[in-house]
Subunit: 104 residues, 2 copies
DNA sequence: CCATCATATCAATTTTTTTTGATGGAAAGC
DNA sequence: GCTTTCCATCAAAAAAAATTGATATGATGG
């Protein structure tokens, strides 16, 4: 299946789209480990759960979908799992849309 | 529901994505009416059926999805129904992605 | 080691989407 | 008028996706 279809499918769920927005807007990493410098903006499951009001397995499911589509990268941080938006894949998605549909 | 989610959902089916590609690449309108000047590039159900090898109701269903998402416009032409890609909606989709995810 | 916390995964269920075959309507040609 | 062609829509079935609750894994801190 065409990769753009995969990306579109990942973005086609309201919860996942909202999660992407949250990742894009996250200012500082949640669950910071004291002393660790690299605190890229990102979110962990725990934060997503509380913000979205969803149970853990549901968040986990959607994050897996986003990661498998390549829209999100993940990184264990201590006992937490941090998620980061992968803007590169979004750019590629748009680039492909431009090509496919001769938008420029 | 967010309009980008609607667009993404419409694009998230392989058949619909392929139809969009076909519409984008259509050179001349099929089912031309003799004497009518305005023959914008577009396709009708009949052509989509044969090209895709799908039954009529299935094509009809997917075209309805695309039209309702705003990705495609339709126009009766004689007993045929012509479909045209709506690049404007695609542009808006991408513009919104840019904004939402701070891609530029 | 043990208890706890954060997350992953699984099976069962629910919901949504897609597909199909049938029927009906509208336009075109005879 | 009648027939044919093209398309829309419907109900039922099939397929796919999402949700839930339970259980498992893995790191942390005592």
């Amino acid at each position: 299946m065409n990769n753009n279809v995969k990306i579109a499918k990942a973005l086609s769920d309201p919860i996942r789209y909202k999660i992407m927005l949250m990742l894009a807007q996250s200012e500082a990493g949640c669950c910071p480990i004291p002393g660790v410098e690299d605190q890229r903006p990102g979110l962990c499951n725990c934060e997503l759960m509380t913000e979205l009001g969803l149970i853990q397995s549901r968040v986990s499911y959607h994050m897996k979908e986003l990661v498998e589509a390549g829209l999100v990268t993940e990184e264990p941080r201590g006992k937490w799992k941090m998620y980061f938006i992968n803007t590169k894949s979004l750019r590629q998605f748009m680039e492909q849309l431009n090509q496919d549909f001769a938008l420029r």
